[in-house]
């Protein structure tokens, strides 16, 4: 049983107008096997929370803490966080020209586990994971994210989730830009991997659509850099019916 804990997190970002505070005291605890959905309007700071946990250099933590089983995550480099068991499925994964998917996946797996995977087992593992996500076998020969469609990029992120077996997975708007079929394939993939690996899930989304496929145990409504309300799955249904206006009018 692992625990990811965010306490009183304040985060700023540098802009031309000076430093702006985006997260204004976020508290959140996720345990292995739990599914948390963070919902909120655009600009509320949902993605900032995801990238701050992953350690993106653009964001500065001015107050508060993030711990993984008591270890101080904020003191870790980006790759140390990943090796400690944190995984961020990105909304806009970048292209890496000249680096094939197969090379990338093997390099990442080797980095995470500390040793190169046995070739034959690894190839089978990759092939099976790709079949599950309905990905073409030739996919691994392509360069990372280069010329990928929106759906291919998201499947590739979930493929990494399956292969790298993190303790906690943060999915940043994985549902955006997906058609219904791709959304189902990706969601089923997340559910299947979670059932197998039992990771803790933090699902960041603007829409309730993906929650029809991935059922959250907890729903947190994010407004203006803070959690404005939290509850069970019923809260998502209420948001579906009422939207975010109720929070924004305050």
């Amino acid at each position: 049983m692992a625990t990811l804990q965010v306490k009183n997190l304040h985060v700023t970002v540098e802009t031309e107008q000076g430093s702006i505070e985006i997260l204004k005291g976020v508290d959140l605890t996720i345990r292995s096997g739990e599914s948390h959905a963070i919902m909120g309007p655009n600009g509320s700071g949902k993605s900032t929370l995801a990238y701050t946990i992953a350690g993106h250099p653009k964001y500065t933590v001015t107050e508060g803490e993030i711990t993984l089983d008591g270890e101080n995550v904020l003191e870790m480099s980006v790759d140390e966080r990943a090796r400690a068991g944190l995984f961020l499925a990105m909304q806009y994964p970048v292209e890496i020209p000249g680096v094939s998917v197969s090379n990338f996946l093997r390099t990442a797996k080797t980095a995470i586990t500390g040793e190169a995977p046995a070739i034959r087992t690894w190839i089978n593992e990759v092939r099976e994971a790709m079949t599950n996500l309905k990905m073409d076998a030739g996919f691994t020969e392509r360069n990372v994210n280069e010329g990928f469609s929106g759906g291919e990029k998201k499947r590739h992120e979930i493929l990494q989730l399956e292969l790298l077996k993190p303790k906690f997975a943060i999915l940043d708007e994985t549902d955006s830009g997906l058609d219904v079929d791709a959304l189902r394939v990706v969601s089923e993939g997340v559910n299947r991997i979670k059932d197998a690996n039992g990771f803790g899930l933090l699902l960041i989304t603007h829409y309730t659509r993906i929650l029809n496929y991935i059922k959250p145990d907890f729903v947190h409504v994010f407004v203006a850099g803070k959690i404005a309300e939290q509850g069970g799955p019923e809260l998502a249904e209420r948001l579906e019916a009422e939207g975010y206006d109720r929070y924004l009018k305050v």
Binding site: G55, V78, V94
Partner: protein, 387 residues
Amino acid sequence: MTEATVRPGSTGHSHGGGEIPLQTRNERLRSIDPSKHTKIDGRDEQWRYLDSARMGGLDTNTLRDASSELKVSAPAEFSSDLVDASDPSFGIAGLPEDLPTANAWAAATKALKLTLSGEASEPAFISVGNLDNQSAAHLIIQSKTHARGTVILDHTGKGNLAEIVEIIVGDESALTVVSIQDWDDESVHTSAQFARLGRNSKLKHVVISLGGKTVRVTPNAEFTAPGAEVELLGLYFADAGQHLEHRSYVDHAVANCKSRVTYKGALQGKGAHTVWIGDVLIRKAAEGTDTYELNRNLLLTDGARADSVPNLEIETGEIEGAGHASASGRFDDEQLFYLQARGINELDARRLVVRGFLNEIIQQIGVDSIEERLNASIELELARGNH
């Protein structure tokens, strides 16, 4: 990537705001007589990025003929001879366009001539290295009609060398020439490489510059009959204090030929300087020309400088296509973040990105042993830069 120091200059293809070259490219002086060539002078476009102090005396001294010191190891389809100016191929592909090359011409009265007949499945190797500091060499590589094969020209070790490489690509033949500059740190090298392409011929020309204090390679390709295709590929990796300069020139003198120029470079360290100048001339007669040139530079540290100048001169509108792209940019931090977020440490992530960047060229060489050696050299360069 951010655009940097791109200066497109052209006739009939103006982007506005760029400097116009002082002359059209085919009007540049060509002479075997050193006294006809001007001294190295920064006001001259040819020497805009280099001064005499970096040239190791190749522009001022009398040079010594080292053509006979080149070592050839070639399969049976190749024959090699030392020839002089009475040989009909001597001086066919091009004449000196600058002083070091004219000095080399004057000194190297003999040329090493490698002739390819038939189809060679294994490459020929010419090793050049550990030469005197005043060396000159002249090579002629000729593929006969319908011949196919690869020649690897490998420059290593100590020595300053002014070199002429004539590449005569026979009708219907397909030739690959790879020129590797992997010299010791203090070596200075100029290499004027002139290619002359026959009817329906193909040349793949690959320049790889890694080691040397000053390396200046000037590949020229001239089409003499329709249906020919040239691919000029280049890869360079400059460290602190190194100057690696590449100036390509494709002369579309006749109709229906195709050219592709792709040069990619990585730079790291204080004073690392690379120059790429890509001249393409499409003459009035060259209808149906298809050309594209591209240069990309990846700056890994502060203090390095990449100059990149495509020049396209177009004298006819009746062409298939003509374009160029040039960009020099810093290391992309988002790529680094993505890889690190998958557990890969910063050093390995940088390696992965740089190797990926240069891979486009390496993959096209088609000689396994060279590809492996290059991958190892790039590893070494990256380790040296502590990246």
